[in-house]
Amino acid sequence: MVDDLVPAAAAGGRAASAPLLGRDTEPTLFELSEPGRSAWQLRTTGVPDLALEELVPEAHRRDSPVALAEVSERDLVGHFTRLSHRQFSVDLGAYPLGSCTMKYNPKICDAVAVLPGLADVHPAAPANCIQGWLELLVELEVALCEITGMAAATLQPAAGAAGELTGLLLMRAWFAAKGDVRRKVIIPDSAHGTNPASVTLGGFEVVTVPSDGRGCVDVEALYSVLDEDVAGIMLTNPNTLGLFEEDIRSIADAVHEVGGLLYYDGANLNAILGVVRPGDMGFDIVHLNLHKTFATPHGGGGPGAGPVAVSDRLAPFLPGPRPTRLGDASSPRFGWTTPERSIGRLHSWHGNALVLARALTYVLVHGNDGLRDVARLAVLNANWLRKRLSSSFDAPYDRPCMHECVLSASSLKRATGVKALDVAKRLLEEGFHSPTVYFPLIVDEALMIEPTETESLQTLEALAGALERIVAEAATPEGALAATEAPHLTPVRRVDEARAARHLVPTFDARPS
């Protein structure tokens, strides 16, 4: 470790790390710590203050306090404010990270999520204390079912991957209920990594089908693996190449033919909101990524919410307890019910409730018209970028895309040595987050660009301009070198990822001293 680059690690009030003021390292909370300092303040309770010894038997007591950190509130604020200045975010600029749908997160949702009537409700409060929450969840479920074209949904899964596993467990329960043991689940080679991982955890075997030359599922190859041992298939549509699987109806028919189920990975639902519905395409199970399509912010990697909607026949298997409308329409009451053949509970409580409240807000503000515009403008933006950039990069599948486009830096790399990764790093210092790189795996030197509908034409022009400039610069040796050494202007320069794995330092205490 190069510690002398942290000259003032204990300097609490020094805006050491604010990029506003240079490129110093921000000390950790532990380096800011000073014995005896504190920030906490707790309510005066008047409860008799028995000593610890009277409350906890010796065998269970810690020998010494757990050393967390000892900082003042002032230093705590300085530290985390400075850290926030070392972090790119949607609120700072365009974030065209393919597959992640980094759109603008409306501030109204933040305001909703802190309403005490939502945020301060205990999840185990009795039904008559939570009528508003139950109604909210039912309202969201109804909307999500309409949007996906399904019959019923569970809101419990905390993210997309949890939704996938839920879907696979539903498949499993469905076949088990029929006494039909099936082992295989088909996924295309372009699928997101969570799909195969979920298949394994669902107790199935992955059967991979290749994509064809047009970037869609190779239908012949698919037919060739379909048999009575196939529990189902997991697809995204548009797929991870941003392309619409035109043959989806035939695929659905063929899978249904052998008794299999179709699972829809909803990570790309943004592309088709209000235009076409998974249910109408023939899917039986659908998960939604509310943190993508419905703009509940990603929070640096979470929380999300991954509700799973299903067709009628699978509804009896949904996880419980489910929020349910009871009583008649004129005087609705809400309560919890558990479906007859429920696969069981998926979450400690009822899912990421405040994320769900944000998503409902988003749905209501947009409405049917607004949601359709979301899809249309997301697709418009992606196609505009695709066309504009097709002279700078390879376009492995040269046809209209949906909400994102996958380009390749393959020729660029061959000609100049500048890889997709270098393009990504150079773009960072042009004021944009980079696209997703090296995914999907089937495209060499992939750059997966998802502008989303909340970026303006002006932004797209600036983004395209920056990418074009990077490509143009790469033509000279100095330009190419600059790209491979980029970024230069960020709080840290290119980070040594290999070293992190080789010399693992997962905590401050693991640092070599």
Binding site: L68, R86, P123, C129, G301, V505
Partner: protein
């Protein structure tokens, strides 16, 4: 078009023209006509923000939040601890809220360093060397811990104390349907795990033993006994700990846990009707390559400057696909950042103080309630922040009556904790409960159980 999408009519026209299209509909020409939604979605047209906000306020006002009107004595995994304005202010900074998984570390040092600090704090609290960057919630952490243990030992039989939160055990059972793990229950006697009730033979030796500390009924379990059984059988010891109680309790790592899981809600998250919460997960260095989810490590940048990055990525689904240690992708990073802030605020003395004050309130409240005629304790082991009672009436009835008096009295216990009767109640007392509140609660309680 909404104020979130910037496209003017002129923009749309010029973009369509550039694409050689004449309408937005044409963008979807690849979608078979028959599949396309005719007439649009059957949901109302978009409403302006203030109308939607009013609707959400209506819904919110149909709830009874904890606070002045409903003083919280409920726990069972969701606790009413102090969340100061400073934690809320810092955790809601939009750079933390509106960023994605730190795939480009050069512009994500803020989240990465905060998570690195979170990992360090969880490691110190749990007493184990490694913590991941968070999982969905306590239940998810338990599921992953069991998966880790089964993978590490190659044994699919897992023994779980009945003192582990019942909804976590439900979740474990749900997921075991996929993995095929065999989950066995270890019963409680007077609120403590009855280790002697574990019985297995060579064919179903345990891959893991899971115990909670404190357990669901608030009791401090004998982790020494659990560790000894693991030593004898080669099982891993998984401890479901509580990060606040850890402020005064011997750490699970100190007791010999291999994996520690927990619910991190108490570290700065509001009750939130159950989510988003925070799955805590720590393990010994031996198991780091089986660690589920993201892990942040320290490294250097091209100029030798200290930097952070997600590491040991080869474990994860996007690289290892069907062989990944877990399928988790999106986790609860913002909650991990929140917990780092909250733990920074609490610090060494604060975490102990919160635990101690909770224990004092619990003692005071429990002593008083046990004096109420007809009310009995279900347990004998020492308790810390939560305790269970047997009531002379249905506990659901008691909870409703007390809600009318302004108290969320606790959580009704599953009959499995009360020999099949619905009269068990789980009561939690945090450092936020004042003596006046507890006294009023006890009075109301007396009336309600009469």
């Amino acid at each position: 078009m909404s104020g979130y999408t910037p496209h003017t009519d002129a923009d749309v026209s010029s973009m369509l023209e550039f694409l050689g299209l004449s309408s937005l509909d044409e963008l979807f020409s690849v979608v078979p006509e028959a599949l396309r939604l005719a007439g649009g979605l059957d949901i109302p047209a978009g409403l302006p923000e203030p109308d939607v906000f009013a609707h959400m306020e209506d819904l919110a006002s149909a709830n009874r939040p904890c606070g002045r009107d409903l003083v919280c004595f409920a726990g069972a995994g969701a606790y009413d601890h102090e969340v100061p304005p400073v934690t809320r202010a810092l955790a809601s900074r939009s750079e933390f809220v509106t960023s994605y998984t730190p795939y480009q570390p050069e512009v994500a040092q803020g989240v990465l360093q905060a998570v690195f600090e979170f990992q360090t704090l969880v490691s110190r609290l749990s007493g184990l060397a490694v913590s991941n960057a968070s999982l969905y919630d306590g239940a998810a952490s338990l599921v992953e811990a069991v998966n880790l243990a089964v993978g590490a030992t190659g044994r699919q039989d897992v023994w779980v104390s009945h003192g582990v939160n019942p909804s976590w055990r439900d979740v474990l059972a749900t997921f075991a349907a996929g993995t095929g793990h065999r989950i066995h229950d270890i019963p409680l006697t007077a609120g403590s795990t009855d280790w002697a009730a574990m019985s297995f033979d060579d064919s179903d030796e345990p891959g893991a033993i899971v115990v909670a500390y404190p357990n669901y009924l608030g009791c401090l379990e004998d982790l020494g006994d659990a560790r000894a059984r693991c030593d004898r059988t080669g099982a891993l010891l998984i401890v479901a700990f509580d990060p606040i109680c850890a402020g005064i309790l011997r750490s699970p790592g100190d007791w010999g846990a291999d994996v520690v899981v927990g619910e991190g809600q108490a570290l700065g998250m509001p009750l939130s009707f159950g989510g988003p919460y925070l799955g805590l997960f720590a393990c010994t260095m031996d198991h780091v390559r089986r660690l589920p989810g993201r892990l942040v490590g320290e490294t250097v940048d091209a100029e030798g400057r200290r930097a952070y990055v997600t590491t040991l990525r080869a474990r994860e689904q996007d690289i290892r696909r069907e062989k990944a240690t877990s399928n988790v992708c999106t986790n609860q990073t913002l909650m991990a950042v929140t917990a780092a802030i909250q733990l920074g605020w609490l610090g060494t003395s604060g975490i102990a103080e919160v635990a101690l004050r909770s224990a004092r309130g619990t003692r005071y409240c429990r002593d008083a309630l046990l004096k109420v005629p007809g009310v009995e304790s279900l347990t004998t082991a020492p308790v810390l922040r939560e305790f269970s009672l047997r009531l002379p009436l249905e506990s659901e009835m008691a909870v409703e009556r007390l809600a009318d008096e302004g108290f969320l009295a606790g959580v009704a216990l599953d009959p499995s904790y009360t020999q099949g009767h619905g009269d068990g109640l789980l009561v939690a007392v945090t450092e936020r409960r004042t003596r006046a509140e507890i006294d009023a609660f006890v009075s109301a309680f007396e009336k309600a159980v009469r």
